[in-house]
Amino acid sequence: MNSRIIIINVIRWFLLLFVQIFLLKNMGFYDLSTPFIYVLFLLLLPFGIPNILLYLLAFGTGLTLDAFYDTMGVHATACVVLAFVRISFISISLNRDAIDDPEPSLSYMGFQWFSLYAFLCVATHHLVLFFLETFRLTEVGYTLMRCGLSCIFTLLIILLVEFIFYRRTPR
């Protein structure tokens, strides 16, 4: 069971990063909307993961992305912020003892919870990402627009992927 989760996550990591780096990196609508689907890996990590491991994974994933995007540290920071939001949101919205689902995916948690969860995580991730990339407050309107449009794009793809791999499981 445990090794199965690890294998699934490793495969997911490679798959998502592959898609992100070799497909989505070349996609973008007028530099306004660029999807960052790889955050789905961080969203779908199992509930029981220790915080330190979560942060390390987030940081490592971000650094890998940075290596390909030539933006050292930007994605890593954004992913760390995402990890923090993820921990906070889960601890606020769910009772820690009552969690018996393996991972916070759409199949287990339902559309409402998952969409809010994904929206919060993705929104903060993108905010940090774009503001770190711009690194100034003078173009704040343009940056916010890019952030919002990319956020919508990313969320759409994440929900799409989740619906494609939807498994009807007894809740």
């Binding site: 971000g62 940075d66 540290g73 920071t77 990890a83 923090f84 921990i87 770190l132």
Partner: protein, 279 residues
């Protein structure tokens, strides 16, 4: 301590977040040229504006000092202006010494050649016999400090044997107790800011910081500031003490000097030559 650990481990998500976030920001700023330049520029701006604020305070605190220095600057400019006007008109500045009723006149002169690096330094000024300069007259610096003696005079120029010369000896006193001594540059001393007071009687107590002025016995007027003692009571082999002092005169930046004309110099010389020493 235990409570602290409990606190930290309870909110470990937050503390880990802080750590990783700082590392991420550090990496971002360190490795991306654009972000680095923005950070450096803005931090420079912050530092600059902070210093500016501080400067405003400092300006107020230093107002007295600034006033003094401005006054000094003013005096210097005035004396330079005097020098400029006297280049053509050779105007005498009269200083009436009301105490002894003795009359000195100062003549401003421009230094046209200066030397400070040699063992025996000679300066040249742009005033000569036409302006009434004679050999042996005292020369002082515009603000404070002594320069030396007139050595040779031509029609329009004169040379000064400055204090930085092995033969120059100026009679000086300690300002506080009028103890006599003689000012020399000193053997083996090549520092243009230092000189020695020699032949101070053994019983005189000198302290670091004492002001040394001219005695008025030679061609210098009495009370011209010379310098401050920096090393007192240097023992010598004879029966006298000596002291090292920092000169007020800055020979390296000397532009204008005052030549002191003593109206009674000839009279004094003539009178003193009658009384033969060792008679």
């Amino acid at each position: 301590m235990r409570n602290l650990w409990i606190f930290i481990s309870r909110y470990n998500a937050f503390f880990l977040f802080i750590i990783f976030f700082i590392v991420g920001i550090y990496l971002t700023v360190k490795n991306n040229a654009y972000q680095r330049s923005v950070t450096l520029n803005s931090s420079n701006e912050v530092v600059g504006s902070a210093y500016e604020r501080l400067n405003v305070f400092k300006r107020y605190l230093n107002l007295g000092m600034v006033n003094d220095s401005l006054a000094a600057e003013n005096a210097k400019l005035k004396s330079q202006l005097l020098g400029l006007t006297t280049v053509d008109t050779a105007k005498d500045v009269k200083v009436v010494d009301t105490v002894t009723n003795q009359q000195y006149t100062y003549l401003a002169a421009k230094v046209i050649k200066n030397s400070i690096t040699l063992r025996n330094n000679i300066m040249t000024i742009n005033k000569g016999t036409v302006d009434g300069i004679k050999s042996g007259m005292a020369v002082i610096a515009p603000q404070r400090g002594v320069v030396g003696f007139i050595r040779d005079v031509s029609a329009h120029l004169a040379t000064i044997q400055s204090l930085l010369h092995k033969d120059t000896k100026i009679s000086v006193t300690l300002k506080k107790n009028n103890a006599l001594g003689s000012l020399v540059w000193g053997d083996g001393n090549f520092d243009i800011k230092k000189a020695f007071v020699k032949e101070v009687p053994n019983h005189i107590k000198m302290y670091v910081g004492d002001t040394v002025v001219t005695s008025g016995f030679a061609s210098f007027p009495k009370g011209i500031l010379v310098g401050k003692i920096s090393k007192a009571n240097v023992a010598t082999n004879d029966n006298f003490l000596s002291a090292e002092l920092n000169l007020f005169t800055d020979f390296s930046t000397l532009q204008y000097v005052y030549v002191v004309k003593d109206k009674k110099a000839d009279e004094q010389k003539a009178l003193e030559s009658i009384a033969k020493p060792n008679e």
